[in-house]
């Protein structure tokens, strides 16, 4: 038995040592990203709080188990205490303490949840419609709309026995032809629906996902911190058929200035940077 515990300890130690060393290495992707929005940071901190509670309870419970297994071995001549069969006091203690911990945990969780649901004062609304298997983005009231689907290189590489090396494709399966473009430091409301089956829109760096359901409009919001411009990637998170794994989400966060320029260009149709290579299919029935 000791060998096993030693191996577990070694594994844990390795994990701890390895994590800070590997900013970009794949082995280091062990935890939820902190993200780049107001909410994603709160969600991450909730995740870490509940995680450390679990670790603390785990140290106690596993400690108790391991202690018993080591101290009360028959092979070491342990004699059972058969009179020890119940204790109302103990039962009350280990009912009440978990309840207290849960209440302590529920309060910040409820607070964050209320913030998540607060979609007032949004500065930009984008309607996102899921299709099998692409996304449609519609900047409400701005007269800008387009489809966004898996980029051609990923698409060729991901074919069965394509013979192409996914490692050679930049952002394999996480790249699209037309990314969603949003400004930093702006409360963006995303209205989610779907045309055919249920999809889910998820960008881990923005902290959350929500289902896009035919006949229903769901909403989430995000506000990317000022200075966090860049490209953020995600995927459909609800099984939606054959190519569920191949409808990524790419969001390009730009400065407010750049966004205004981009939007104006889209409206006049001057630069076809977001024009699809194929004509956009008309929505089905």
């Amino acid at each position: 038995m000791t060998y096993v515990y030693r191996s577990i300890a070694l594994l844990l130690a390795l994990t701890v040592v390895a994590s800070p060393l590997t900013a970009h290495a794949e082995w280091g992707d062990l935890n939820m990203p902190v993200g780049v929005t107001e909410l994603s940071k709160e969600i991450h901190s909730l995740h870490m709080t509940i995680f450390w509670w679990c670790v603390a309870i785990g140290v106690f419970v596993f400690g108790w188990m391991i202690w018993s297994l080591v101290a009360f071995r028959k092979s070491q001549g342990a004699e059972p205490d058969v009179t020890m069969t119940h204790s109302t006091k103990a039962e009350i203690i280990w009912t009440v303490i978990p309840v207290v911990i849960l209440v302590i945990m529920a309060i910040p969780a409820a607070r964050t949840l209320i913030a998540i649901e607060d979609t007032r004062d949004t500065e930009l609304s984008i309607k996102v419609t899921g299709y099998q298997w692409k996304w449609h983005y519609d900047y409400l009231g701005k007269d800008v709309k387009f489809f966004s689907k898996l980029d051609r290189t990923s698409d060729e590489t991901r074919q069965l026995n394509s013979g192409l090396d996914p490692h050679a494709v930049p952002d394999y399966l996480l790249n699209v032809d037309n990314p969603l473009v949003v400004p930093e430091d702006t409360k963006v409301r995303v209205l989610l629906t779907a045309q055919d089956v249920i999809h889910a829109w998820w960008v881990p760096q923005f902290g959350m996902k929500k289902d896009a359901i035919p006949g229903t409009v769901n909403e989430i919001w995000f506000k990317v911190d000022a200075g966090k411009t860049g490209v953020y990637r995600g995927q459909c998170a609800e099984l939606c058929g054959r190519d569920h794994g191949f409808m990524p989400i790419v969001v390009k966060v730009v400065s407010k200035q750049e966004f205004a320029t981009w939007l104006a260009a889209q409206q006049t149709g001057a630069t076809p940077t977001v024009a699809s290579r194929e004509p956009a299919p008309s929505p089905r029935g």
């Binding site: 205490d81 058969v82 849960l102 996902k209």
Partner: protein, 535 residues
């Protein structure tokens, strides 16, 4: 029970041989064996599908299967493992053990017992047939969410009909358990004297009777949506796809406890035996099981936090879900207290029960994390969820089934398994299962969605590790079959009480247990002896 002095002796000990013994089986042991063999077969078929999944996910890019077939594999793997492997395995153990533990000669309704078993091979033949028809097997996930599930081809009616048959089989099996426990207990065997396995199974049986009809209703509505022009779940016709999810998970969450409650029972028998000490807090264990069963009816929407519920709904389901940690914690603490000041030895059943204790607790922790709604918005439908439910189902339910089989095999067969090979099986399984599922926590947190056949290269390393674990775990289960086969064929003769700490009526029977377990019923002295040692 009204007249215990005149015991009805059925002298028609007709014992058909060969195929008829099994086709016409009415004996609880024969039917239990059938259930266990069936479950084992489905475990290997479902396991083979899991290996197809893990082979495809071994590295990025599509190497072996089409994405549609991949989706069929995830769907069928789940249906086979839940309805074909774990549930029938529990019914098999219930068939074997409940009459022996309550002091009955057999199950209360033997012909119903035969029928409920023989529905299963037909149900699963229908389901497996879909692999060979045009359009392939169902690929919309075992949760059958519409509108996606309605896009299925010819597999659709076969799947629904198969699920109906499985549901009928489960309900009949559950009725049999309830009637047996309520009516067939030997004089002196009060409800609160029963071994915990009987208790958890009694609660499980009520859950089954309550929720299998709900599943039947849900899939019937899918069927009429597909073929008869109704629009229960079709938005275009005024229906609501989310309503299906509510109905499904009203079945689905109690179903989760249907899979795990009997495991609590088995572990509550094995840990006291090998700690040579009575179970700590017997009554609180019963009440905790009942509380878990009750709570299972009011937490269903935590499976669907991302569908867009009102804030109040999300808060309610978060709090009720967190509450489940309390009775579950009581159980874990009671098991710990049972080992405390015991005299512990580490035979194979105990090793599996201990692995259950450690690894189910890890699954419980990730479950607690999943209850926190804002964090769940990140975890939902990611590999974190896959890791969570596999921790509670594989080293949870499946390990408990294996623990139970090793524990009672000597009583069933009259022969001992090889302790050396049993331990080897245990270590291979435990190491394999952790290599398989632990990295999936990392994958989910890093952002890998579940049910995808191919992934971005950033997920490549841990997927490879997970797949290696899958093959280690999968192939070591062949050893399990070999250990049992070897024991039954040529194992050493087992004594009546192979485990010195084993108590209860099942251990008062001779070894191997007689064909009609308690016939005549145990005397009050025998019952009192079995019960006294238990408390």
């Amino acid at each position: 029970m009204a007249n215990t002095s005149t015991v009805d002796h059925h002298d028609d000990h007709h014992a058909p041989t060969g195929l008829k013994r099994w086709l016409y089986a009415t004996n609880h042991k024969d039917i239990g064996t059938l259930y266990l063999i069936f479950a084992c077969t489905m475990f290997f078929l479902g396991g083979a599908m899991a290996l197809v999944i893990r082979a495809e996910l071994f590295q990025p890019g599509l190497q072996f299967v089409d994405p549609q077939f991949f989706n069929s594999m995830t769907t069928m793997h789940a249906l086979l493992m839940i309805f074909g492997a774990v549930m029938p395995a529990w019914t098999g153990l219930a068939n074997w053990m409940i009459p022996m533990q309550v002091g009955a000669p057999d199950m209360a309704l033997p012909r119903l017992n035969n029928f409920s078993f023989w529905l299963l091979p037909f149900a699963f033949t229908l389901l497996l047939l879909t692999l060979f028809i045009p359009g392939g097997a169902p690929a919309g996930g075992w949760t059958l969410y519409p509108p996606l599930s309605l896009q299925a081809g010819d597999s659709f009616p076969l799947t629904i009909f198969a699920i109906h048959l499985m549901g009928i089989s489960s309900i009949l099996g559950a009725i049999n358990v309830v009637v047996t426990i309520m009516n067939m207990r030997a004089p002196g065997m009060g409800l609160l004297n029963m071994p915990l396995f009987c208790w958890t199974w009694l609660i499980t049986a009520y859950l089954l009777i309550a929720v299998m009809p709900v599943l039947a209703g849900a899939v019937t509505m899918l069927l009429t949506d597909h073929f008869f022009g109704t629009a229960f779940f079709t938005a275009a016709g005024g229906g609501d796809p989310v309503m299906f999810q509510h109905i499904f998970w009203f079945f689905g969450h109690p179903e989760v406890y249907i899979l795990i409650l009997p495991a609590f029972g088995v572990v509550s028998e094995i840990i006291p035996t090998f700690s040579r000490k009575p179970l700590f807090g017997y009554e609180s264990m019963v009440y905790a099981s009942a509380s878990i069963a009750f709570l299972s009816f009011i937490v269903w929407a935590h499976h669907m936090f991302t569908v867009g519920m009102p804030l109040a709904g999300q808060l309610f389901f978060m709090l009720s879900t967190m509450l489940i940690a309390v009775p579950t914690g009581v159980k874990v603490f009671n098991w710990c207290a049972t080992m405390w000041k015991g005299s512990i030895s580490f035979e194979t059943p105990m090793l599996f029960a201990l692995a259950f204790l450690f690894l189910f607790t890890i699954g419980g922790f990730s479950g607690l994390m999943l209850a926190i709604v804002p964090a769940d918005f990140q975890y939902h439908d990611s590999y974190f969820v896959v890791a969570h439910f596999h921790y509670v189902l594989v080293p949870g339910a499946v390990f408990a089934i294996m623990a139970g089989v090793y524990y009672w095999l000597p009583k069933w067969s009259g022969r001992m398994y090889s302790e050396k090979l049993g331990k080897l099986h245990f270590w291979l399984s435990t190491i394999g299962v952790n290599i398989l599922f632990f990295p999936q926590h990392f994958l989910g947190l890093a952002g890998m969605p579940r049910r995808i056949p191919d992934y971005s290269t950033q997920f490549a390393d841990w997927n490879m590790v997970s797949s290696i674990g899958a093959f280690v775990f999968g192939f070591s289960q062949l050893l399990f079959v070999y250990v049992i086969w070897q024991a039954v064929r040529s194992g050493e003769k087992a004594p009546a009480r192979p485990w010195e700490g084993a108590t209860g009526l099942d251990w008062e029977l001779p070894t191997p247990a007689p064909y009609h377990s308690w016939d005549p019923p145990p005397t009050r002295e025998v019952v009192a002896k079995g019960v006294a040692q238990q408390h």
